[in-house]
Amino acid sequence: MTGSPLMIEARAVEKWYPNGFHALRGADLTVHQGEVVVIMGPSGSGKSTFIRTFNALEDFQKGSITVDGIALSNDVRHIDAIRREVGMVFQQFNLFPHLTVLENLTLAPVLVRKRPKAEVERQALELLERVGIHEQARKYPGQLSGGQQQRVAIARSLCMEPRIMLFDEPTSALDPELVHEVLEVMQELAEGGMTMVVVTHEVRFARQVASRVVLMAEGQVVEQAPPEQFFTNPQHERSRQFLRQIG
C-alpha cells in the first residue's frame, strides 16, 4: 500500500493434496515490508496451508509465490535461501526436546550461518531476556510451561535474524491464561517493525496490532481490509457470517 518494498507476493496459488483435496483455489496475497498481516477464517479454509507454502513446507501446483525477491520453485537452493530469511512459529511449538533452551536457539545460526558459537550465545541470551525467560536458558523445553515454550520458539526464530516471521496459530495450543504472554511478545515484535504474517483467532490482537486483516474461505482470499474497517464494516457476506460465528 505504501512505497515500501514487496516481501511476499502470492498469485493465484492452487494446491491439491495427494488425496485429491483441493485446499487452495487461486489464493492471492501481497505483503510489504513492515506490515503485520493477520489471516483469519473458519477451520478448513486453507489458512495454515497457505502460510506454510511461503517457506515451502507445503508445495503447490499452480500459481507463483515470490518471497523477498526469490521465486519459489523446486530448486533446493532457492528453498534453503528462503528458509534462512523466513522465520516460522508453530502451533505445537516444535522445540527440540533433547536440546536445552539455549541450544535450541544457537543450533541453526551456528550450523547454517556458520557464526561463531560464543557470539550466537550472547545474542541468544539477549533474545531470551527480551522474551522474558533468560533465567531458563539451561533448562530443557519439557520443564517449561506452554507459554514459555512458545516464547522460546519465537526467540529461536529471531536468532536467525529473519526478514519475515510467519506465525501458524501460535496461541491455539495454550491454556487461556498463558495466551497473553505470547501475544505481548508478538506485539513488541510488530512495534519493532518486523514483517509478520499471522494466522490466529485472537480478535483483540488483530484489532490492536494488524495493519491489515485477511479473511480466507474455501481456499481463497475473500476480503482484506484495515482492522477497523474489517471488524466494524465487513464488505463480504462470508466475512459477516464468520464474525457472527466468533461472536
Binding site: N55, L57, D80, R83, R84, V86, G87, M88, F90, Q92, F93, N94, L95, F96, P97, H98, L107, A108, L111, V112, R113, K139, Y140, P141, G142, Q143, G146, Q149, A153, R156, S157, M160, A173
Partner: protein
C-alpha cells in the same frame, strides 16, 4: 485396594501374602513342595554326583580357546587395562552430580558390589583349583579395579575437564585390545582360528554390536527415503534378513564368499561369521530405529527445516538423536539377543563358548558331563546379559533425567 495401615506381625504378613484365599494357599503349598524337592534334588546332585572336574580342568579352554600359551600374557595385560578402565568409568559416573541424587563417594550399593567383586576374585580361582600364581593375578586385577574406582570417585569430580575423555577411553581400548589379541605392531600374529571360548564370544558380539549400529541407522533412514531405489533396496534387505533364520544365513555366509572370492582372498571364517552377525543384527536395529523415527512428531523436522537446516543437518542434530532415545530399549534387547546368538557360531564349527564346550565333551574322559557344562554355560551367559541389561538401564535413566518430550 488401599491396605489398612496397622502394625503387621511377620506371621500376619506371610499369611496375607501366601494364604489370602484357599486357592492361593493351595497354589502356594504345591509350588513350595515342587520347588523344595527340585532344589533338594539339584543341590544333592551338584554336591555329590556332579563331577565339576570337567570345568576345573578346562577353565582356560572355556575362556580363551586354543590361544597360544606363550602369548597369553597379552590377554592378562588387556584384562588389567579393562579392569582399570571399568573402575575409572564406574567411579566417574557415580561421582557425577545428578539432579535429585546426592553424589557420594561410596553409596551402599557400590560397597556391596566391591565386596562381591573381591569375594569372587578370591573364591572363583579357588573353586577352579587354579595355581597360586593365577590366584594372585586375579586378586591383583580386582584390587586394581577397586583402586581405580576409588581414585576416580575421590578426584574425578574435581577435574571435570577430563571427564569427556573417559568416553574416548573405551574406543581406544577396544582398538588396543584388537591389536593385543590379534597381533601386529611388533606382536606376533595370532590368527582368528585360534581365538576361542569366552574370548571369541565377546569379541564377535562386540564387533557386531559396534558395526551393526551405524549400518542399522542408515538402513532405517534408507527405508524412509524419498528415493525409490534406496527405499526398496532397504526394504528388501531388511525383510529378507528378518525372514530367514540366522543359522541359514551363517551357513550361506560361510559358503557364499568362497564362491565369490578366490580361496586366499576371502576373509577368515571367524570374520566371515562376525560379518554375518553384523548384517543380521543391522536389519533388526534398523527396525528399532524406524520405530523411533515413526514416533517422532513431524513438526520436529518441519521446525528444523524452517530454521534453514539442510536435510543432513536436520537428521544429524534433530531427528536421529531423538529417534535413538526412543529406540534404545529395543536396541539393547537386540544386543542381548545378539550376544546369545553367538552360540550359533558353534554350529558352523567355530570354537566359541558353546563350540568349546562341545569339543570338551567330545573327549571321552568327559562324556556324559552335559548337565554340568551346560549349566555353567547358561550361568555365564546370564551374567553377561544381566550386565548388559543393567548398563542399559543406567544409560536410560541418565538420558531421561530432564528431558521429558515437549507436549505435542
Amino acid at each position: 485396594m488401599v491396605p489398612i495401615p496397622q502394625p503387621d506381625s511377620a506371621w500376619r504378613r506371610v499369611r496375607r501374602q501366601l494364604f489370602a484365599s484357599r486357592l492361593d494357599g493351595l497354589i502356594t503349598v504345591v509350588l513350595l513342595v515342587l520347588l523344595l524337592s527340585a532344589a533338594l534334588g539339584i543341590g544333592h546332585w551338584a554336591l555329590s554326583q556332579a563331577q565339576w572336574a570337567v570345568i576345573q580342568v578346562n577353565s582356560t579352554l572355556f575362556t580363551l580357546g586354543r590361544y597360544p600359551l606363550e602369548q597369553q600374557w597379552r590377554l592378562w595385560l588387556l584384562t588389567a587395562l579393562l579392569a582399570g578402565a571399568s573402575g575409572l568409568s564406574w567411579g566417574l559416573l557415580r561421582a557425577e552430580p545428578r539432579a535429585g541424587v546426592n553424589a557420594r563417594p561410596w553409596p551402599r550399593n557400590d560397597r556391596i558390589a566391591v565386596l562381591l567383586l573381591l569375594a569372587l576374585a578370591l573364591l572363583l580361582p579357588a573353586a577352579l583349583q587354579l595355581t597360586a600364581l593365577i590366584h594372585l593375578r586375579w586378586l591383583a586385577l580386582a584390587v586394581l579395579l577397586v583402586l581405580a574406582r576409588w581414585a576416580a570417585g575421590r578426584w574425578g569430580p574435581l577435574r571435570g575437564r577430563w571427564r569427556p575423555l573417559v568416553g574416548l577411553l573405551w574406543p581406544v581400548l577396544y582398538l588396543l585390545g584388537m591389536v593385543l589379541i590379534g597381533g601386529g605392531l611388533g606382536l606376533s600374529p595370532v590368527p582368528p582360528g585360534e581365538w576361542g571360548g569366552l574370548l571369541l564370544t565377546l569379541l564377535s558380539a562386540s564387533f557386531a554390536m559396534l558395526l551393526c549400529f551405524p549400518l542399522g541407522v542408515l538402513l532405517a533412514l534408507g527405508r524412509r527415503s524419498a528415493l525409490p531405489l534406496l527405499r526398496w533396496g532397504s526394504v528388501l534387505y531388511i525383510e529378507f534378513i528378518r525372514g530367514a533364520p540366522l543359522i541359514t544365513l551363517l551357513f550361506l555366509g560361510q559358503n557364499i564368499l568362497g564362491f565369490l572370492l578366490p580361496g586366499g582372498l576371502a576373509p577368515d571364517r571367524v570374520w566371515r561369521a562376525a560379518w554375518v552377525l553384523t548384517f543380521f543384527s543391522a536389519a533388526y536395529v534398523a527396525e528399532a530405529v524406524r520405530a523411533g523415527l515413526v514416533a517422532l512428531p513431524p513438526g520436529q523436522l518441519e521446525a528444523a527445516r524452517s530454521l534453514g537446516l539442510a536435510m543432513p543437518q536436520a537428521l544429524v542434530h534433530v531427528v536421529i538423536p531423538q529417534a535413538l532415545r526412543v529406540a534404545l530399549p529395543a536396541m539393547v534387547g537386540q544386543f542381548i539377543i545378539l550376544l546369545q546368538d553367538t552360540t550359533l557360531l558353534s554350529l558352523i564349527g567355530l570354537l566359541d563358548l558353546l563350540g568349546i564346550a562341545r569339543t570338551v565333551m567330545a573327549n571321552p574322559a568327559f562324556l556324559g558331563r552335559n548337565a554340568e557344562v551346560y549349566l555353567v554355560l547358561a550361568l555365564l551367559f546370564w551374567c553377561c546379559c544381566a550386565a548388559l541389561g543393567l548398563g542399559s538401564r543406567a544409560l536410560e535413566t541418565r538420558l531421561n533425567t530432564s528431558h521429558t518430550p515437549a507436549k505435542a
